[in-house]
């Protein structure tokens, strides 16, 4: 059978990280995949060398629009590792609260989009409505719905007002019933089972070989979470569970993320209720020469920063490793062997920067057939419809 190359991407007005996938297909089946990134390479590592340690937090906050807190968090921990200091207790609590709020809204955003790609636009609308509540919470706490600018080496920039806390807890409580309902709907829905179970399986060996991170590896049975293994913030003082499943398919990745949202709400509430009084900043003046490493668990996995200082007020090297950098290559293990109508959701299941999948074009080598992105989403949604009809729903 003739092999066809399916280019996916790279540009779409909504996406923050353009990526280009080229799938080689035989009929419906994907036999090879290649990924090309770098369309949005902004040279932030180089840029960071020209900023002072304090200014760098603002630059790297703009690396990602969704997990905008994880980068400053890892960076400030790396700088604190150079000086070997611990931030004040209250600052640790505030950092944890902001990081968990971000995890909730990031996972909800992903869940909504996953629903859309499977042809469940109701899920999409519902979940994004819930996400609005969280964005409001973040606005109350930090003044911004995104890019919170709360972090600085040595502490946090803004304090949380005591009188805001009851409002925030009320808002957090209000989304738990709807989330529980969505969780049940996903676990019980036979169509979602048929579309996602056993699809795009990442085995435990592959997860270790590719050094996959975060929910992508936890869904494959790798019980690793930076918050548990190398506790930072106040994660070692609070009761919470690490969510691990063992099948590694798309369904498990959905489940891990939904359950993590509920855990994150629990952590955030407990932090708000037990917030201690005290200083929020160490007022660090000088950074001595040396090198430091900071790593935190972002919504998508471990974010890793390496900073080297030569004693001046600027870093001489600042290495940034985002979690998707390690998760993206796992496509080679998950997509190959699956059908093209499943490729959309498998590519989406690691929660990459996602909207790339909306702009696809299918073309056969001789150029006789041309589908665009909408056609491929339609293919995916039609498959759901077909399964529904077969089940008599």
């Amino acid at each position: 059978m003739a092999k066809t190359i399916v280019p996916i991407g790279p540009y779409h007005p909504l996406q923050e990280e353009p990526e280009f996938f080229s799938l080689t297909v035989e009929g419906e089946k994907v036999v090879d995949i290649d990924v090309r990134i770098g369309y949005n390479h902004r040279g932030i590592e180089k840029l960071s060398e020209m900023k002072t340690f304090d200014q760098s937090t603002f630059v790297i906050e703009r690396i990602c629009g969704i997990c905008s807190t994880s980068h400053p968090f890892a960076y400030t921990r790396a700088v604190e590792d150079i000086i070997s200091v611990e931030v004040p207790e209250r600052a640790k609590y505030i950092r944890t609260i902001i990081a968990e709020g971000e995890r909730i809204h990031s996972h909800l955003l992903w869940l909504g989009l996953a629903g859309h790609f499977l042809g469940y636009n109701t899920v999409y609308m519902w979940v994004w409505k819930l996400r609005e509540e969280i964005l409001d919470v973040m606005e109350i706490l930090s003044g911004n719905r995104n890019n919170y600018a709360m972090f600085k080496p040595g502490g946090v920039r803004r304090d949380i007002k005591q009188e805001d806390i009851p409002d925030v807890i009320k808002k957090l409580d209000s989304i738990i019933p709807s989330l529980t309902m969505i969780k049940k709907a996903v676990i019980d829905d036979p169509v979602i089972h048929a579309r996602t179970k056993g699809i795009g399986v990442l085995s435990k060996e592959d997860a270790i070989n590719y050094a996959a991170l975060g929910p992508t590896s936890r869904a494959s049975g790798v019980a690793r979470d930076v918050r548990k293994d190398a506790p930072y913030g106040v994660y070692d003082k609070i009761e919470w569970n690490m969510i691990v499943t063992k099948n590694g398919d798309v369904f498990d990745k959905v489940i891990v993320r939904i359950l993590e949202v509920l855990e994150a709400i629990k952590i955030m509430k407990e932090c708000l209720l037990t917030l201690p009084k005290g200083e929020i900043d160490l007022n660090i003046k000088d950074i001595p020469p040396g090198e430091g490493i900071g790593h935190v668990e972002a919504p998508r996995g471990e974010t890793f920063h390496y900073v080297r200082s030569d004693g001046t007020n600027r870093p001489v090297r600042h290495k940034v490793r985002a979690p998707t950098f390690m998760n993206l290559p796992t496509f080679k293990a998950t997509v190959v062997g699956e059908t093209i109508s499943d490729a959309t959701i498998i590519l989406a299941a690691i929660d990459p920067c996602y909207c790339c999948t909306e702009r696809m074009a299918v073309r056969n080598i001789k150029g006789t057939k041309l589908y665009n992105g909408e056609d491929l989403i339609r293919l995916s949604q039609e498959k759901t419809e077909k399964i529904k009809r077969k089940m008599g729903l």
Partner: protein
């Protein structure tokens, strides 16, 4: 294995290969090794001690180009960074792909940003830089100069 055991094991096993050993803090250890030994040491750390490969990071200093390979031992919360210093005249080191697939992209990245040749890498294509970026110009080198007069890169804008 506890922290002391891991460190003692590594120090004894690779007595010949280790050049410098820096115990920075309870969670961070920096070990400088000979560049030729990178495959041997990382193979032992990844396979026998089952550490996770975090990432590698390259730094251009005045005399050498350094590469740090970061491995985390999650059970004991210890991050070991293997440091290799490459002579600027001969920027070559063995690729780690035979040991784990996770090294693929980062080696491609260091190859284009710092100009290091990874021996045995199956596919050293560009990862981040655009197609019109000229060959042989590496943006993270100390001596990097803007090659395109029209570009606004690197002027502190």
């Amino acid at each position: 294995m506890r922290r002391e055991e891991v460190i003692k094991d590594l120090r004894e096993r690779f007595k010949e290969e280790i050049i410098d050993f820096f115990d920075k803090s309870p969670k961070r250890v920096y070990i400088e090794i000979k560049p030729e030994a990178i495959l041997k040491v990382s193979d032992y750390i990844f396979k026998s001690l089952s550490a996770r490969f975090n990432i590698a990071s390259g730094v251009d200093t005045r005399y050498h180009v350094e590469i740090l390979y970061h491995f985390i031992f999650e059970d004991i919360n210890l991050l070991i960074s293997l440091r290799v210093k490459l002579d600027k005249k001969k920027l070559e080191i063995d690729s780690l792909i035979p040991i784990f697939e996770a090294a693929n992209w980062i080696e491609r990245e260091i190859h284009e940003l710092l100009g290091i040749n990874f021996k045995g890498h199956p596919d050293l294509r560009r990862l981040l830089l655009s197609d019109d970026w000229p060959e042989g110009i590496h943006p993270l080198r100390c001596d990097y100069k803007e090659w395109d007069e029209k570009a606004i890169r690197d002027r502190g804008v």
